[in-house]
């Protein structure tokens, strides 16, 4: 069934089709529509779930963890201040192996108050052990939520589905909403190997000495390492049933490209327009849009970039005291690779500053003008 819906509602639809059983969420602009639609779905019983109207995001994640431990499929959504308020519990979810799926609307961190998009909120959670998906269309959002549940529940690792504020969350697009029966066939009930129940009592998450802690964390990483292959496999299954494949990256004209732009989120779609414009001018450009940030798709990135002469990573985020975050990760992925591709890093669009095709033309121009990248960050669009 095709419907014109906003990005936020694509999250709600994904949660409904996945038959989420417990939702605990707190409103925050620009996520509010996610939870409002989910409330309606629960009230009208189109979604058989308990919606706990918690009093903060920290409590939202705490309630999700309790529900997940009981063996229920859990969903929540938040943004920026809410996500960072949950930070302690994000570690808890991954360490406790609770496969919560969460929608996060990328919104710039305060101060000052901003409701517009950049990626610092979710990227600063990169070490918490969550799988991170970055979407660029509402269709992708809905499809990703369903697949995220499948991957998370198999690995027992939580995941977040990330959308840009307003550019995606509030933009209306045509979305093909899959048939419930087909989704049920694709995504069976959550059936964890261990759950909290009096019929098989255990104490979960107690005092753990150096004698034991290391192995738990080793196991978490080992299971994370299985995620790229699993995401591709579940993606192929999804493609068979619903006709759309997500995968770890989107490769647009990279095969014969001399200059590859690396992007994520909606800026990644804008980059394709930029690539088209560059091609018209005779520049063999391509765009690599990274869809899965954690676990980082090292192999895929090396593969796609293999034939390029230069790589330009455009970050809509920054790790203060270092550089853009995708830039750091791409550089590290290419370090020691078979051939030496210079990686140029650019930062743009913080706090929702608009990213246009011209941004990418400027990026390309600056990249082509230099033979080696500089240590310093190249800022695009800052009023200097």
């Amino acid at each position: 069934m095709k419907k014109v819906i906003m990005g936020n509602h694509a999250l709600s639809w994904g949660a409904q089709l996945a038959r989420a059983q417990v939702i605990a969420a707190y409103p925050i602009t620009p996520q509010t529509q996610v939870v409002e639609l989910l409330s309606e779905m629960c009230a009208s019983k189109t979604l058989d779930a308990k919606f706990i109207k918690v009093e903060s995001e920290h409590s939202a994640m705490a309630a999700c963890l309790g529900a997940s431990l009981a063996g229920a499929r859990t969903f929540t959504a938040t943004s920026a201040q809410g996500l960072t308020l949950m930070h302690e519990l994000l570690h808890w979810a991954s360490g406790g192996r609770m496969p919560v799926v969460m929608g996060n609307i990328n919104r710039a961190m305060a101060p000052g108050w901003s409701i517009w998009t950049d990626q610092n909120d979710s990227l600063s959670q990169r070490d918490t052990g969550w799988i991170q998906f970055y979407c660029a269309s509402n269709q992708e959002v809905l499809d990703t939520v369903i697949q995220a549940f499948k991957v998370s529940e198999q690995l027992l690792i939580p995941s977040m589905v990330v959308l840009d504020a307003f550019a995606l969350s509030h933009t209306y697009e045509v979305v093909d909403i899959p048939d419930q029966a087909k989704v049920d066939a694709y995504l069976p009930r959550f059936n964890p190997p261990v759950r909290l129940t009096p019929s098989d009592p255990h104490a979960f998450g107690g005092l753990t000495s150096p004698e034991h802690y290391f192995e738990f964390r080793y196991k978490l990483q080992k299971d994370m390492e299985k995620a790229p292959a699993l995401i591709e496999e579940t993606g192929r299954e999804y493609e068979k049933m619903f006709g759309r494949y997500l995968g770890l990256v989107e490769d647009y004209l990279c095969e014969d490209a001399d200059l590859i732009l690396v992007t994520s989120g909606t800026a990644g779609y804008t980059a394709r327009v930029g690539v088209d414009l560059l091609r018209k001018e005779g520049v063999k450009a391509g765009n690599l849009r990274i869809k899965v940030f954690r676990p980082f798709p090292f192999e895929k990135v090396r593969q796609v970039v293999a034939g390029a002469k230069k790589v330009a990573v455009v970050d809509r985020n920054i790790s203060y005291g270092h550089h853009g975050i995708f830039y750091q990760e791409v550089k590290s992925a290419l370090y020691g690779a078979d051939h030496d591709v210079p990686v140029f890093g650019f930062i743009t669009g913080l706090g929702g500053r608009d990213v246009t095709p011209d941004t990418f033309k400027e990026v390309a121009g600056l990249t082509m003008a230099k033979s080696r990248p500089e240590e310093e960050i190249t800022w695009i669009g800052v009023k200097k």
Partner: protein, 99 residues
Amino acid sequence: MKNKKKPEKIIFQSEKDVPLMPMSVGSMLFNKTGAWRNIRPEIDLANCIQCGICWKFCPDVAIYIENEFPVIDYDYCKGCGICAEECPSKCIAMVEELK
């Protein structure tokens, strides 16, 4: 009512034996807290009035009932002295623990 479970310490040889997330797989009965004591309670059963108060107030479940009389489980008794203090017939004495 004596603790019947056989206590065992759990050793994990490899990460393959370790459960997926930090959780309990065994009981604390392997931990013989009796080693904590400096003084031990001794019940004079001749004067015991079988009121059950010592059994009731033990925080370590270290007093059990056998043949209608209280018995101290010295494997676990920490020597807190509550039983002696609360006994209405004062038939429990706290004596120096002989190591």
